[in-house]
Symmetry: C2
Subunit: 217 residues, 2 copies
DNA sequence: ATTATATTTTAGGCAAATCTAAATTATTTT
DNA sequence: AAAATAATTTAGATTTGCCTAAAATATAAT
């Protein structure tokens, strides 16, 4: 159970660098990990020395092949455990994140292979994110943030970031994976959205929330 | 995932102090945990300060009520996970220990309650050891070390300590939980035993091994 | 192109958990 | 009961991952 911190950094870099492997910046990492920028710099140097990231002072980091492989492995574990928690143990959306954060660091290839098989090789986790297979392959989905949709467009809720508070709130206002949303109006002042859910009830969501909801067109 | 080290110490003290809560000594702990005695002393002071153990220099430790409760909780988690690994994921005897050592430190009461229910509240783990219930209660079994049996006595193998090497060896020579053993002969020179298994094949085991096998009369 | 602001890095420290080597206390032997 | 041996503790270091405050660099604004 060593290297938990390193693993969290690699995963964070992977997630923040998005589909195109963009550089990730110190402050963003610090924010995401709830650490201070100085600590991030320290760790980036260590990760660079171990060849898990390419790092040049003042210009952000990217994962090396090796680092990306590790990161994907952790994401795989995280999502498999989330699937297990929801589908076998009856956890709800908002209860799983914290536990999966811990379980993802359990070190045992055998365990993950067996778990994967036990769950019948699921393709996506309870948030709708793809679960990489044992070779690190997973299908990218072409999704957008809800916040980026134009007025009048229709879409289907696809992924939601892993924040318990948000998840609880969304459940409450009726947004779940698979919910059909139509953007009725974008309020220019604060970029909040007026949505219609499944062709029925109308709700208002802030721009901030809309950024955290991914949809498929 | 903090306090892993503390948890390991508490569990070790619990296990080494046996049924009668005997004091546990620094060197024994050091040996069991693969640490140095000096490190053990350091940690004992810290645990004493937190009121998890009663510790007086040079005279061993015992768990306080509080400490014992924590220790039992960890044992409960360890054994539940072992049960899960064997009965759901198809692990064998000798593959589970290392993984359970990690899983036992996952921090989530909800997880353990759900897992317990999912497994239908098992009473004992794959080694035959009792699994404490949510209140820390479990039935003590009156078992003895095989090494302590007199010649001609019969017994049933009940528990085996958690060392992968030993477990693999025992599987190989035909000893499993539930195996009936009869002590045919005790060799006085080295205290090794000549055993008959299930009324059939005869095997020889060293005193060292016989100490690690618990039997029921 | 300077200046102001924001970001990132360096320097120096701290707490946890471990270690080695030396000192202390207990136990066993003669 | 003194001496020898064994067990335990203390003292002082090391490593990891984090921190604050100050310095350096990059970016934006005038």
């Amino acid at each position: 159970m060593k290297n938990i911190s390193e693993e969290n950094y690699l995963k964070a870099i992977f997630i923040l660098s998005g589909k195109n492997d963009q550089e990730v910046f110190t402050n963003d990492l610090a924010l995401y990990l709830s650490n201070k920028a100085a600590s991030v710099t320290d760790m980036l140097k260590k990760l660079a020395q171990k060849k898990f990231v390419s790092y040049k002072k003042y210009s952000g980091v990217t994962l090396t092949e090796q680092g990306k492989k590790k990161a994907i492995d952790i994401v795989r574990k995280h999502r498999l455990w989330e699937f297990f928690l929801v589908n076998q143990l009856g956890f709800t959306w908002d209860e799983i994140h914290e536990v999966a954060e811990q379980l993802e660091h359990i070190q045992s290839d055998l365990l993950i292979e067996r778990l994967d098989a036990y769950l019948r090789f699921p393709q996506s986790d309870p948030h709708g994110d793809p679960i990489p297979n044992r070779n690190g392959k997973f299908k990218q989905t072409n999704s957008k943030a809800l916040a980026e949709l134009a007025e009048r467009s229709n879409a289907i809720v696809f992924t939601v970031t892993d924040k318990p508070d948000l998840l609880r709130y969304l459940s409450k206002i009726g947004i779940a994976l698979g919910t059909k949303v139509k953007v009725l109006e974008k309020i220019p002042f604060d970029n909040s959205l007026l949505l219609q859910l499944n062709g029925k009830n109308k709700i208002q969501v802030s721009a901030d929330i809309a950024k955290h909801i991914k949809v498929q067109l």
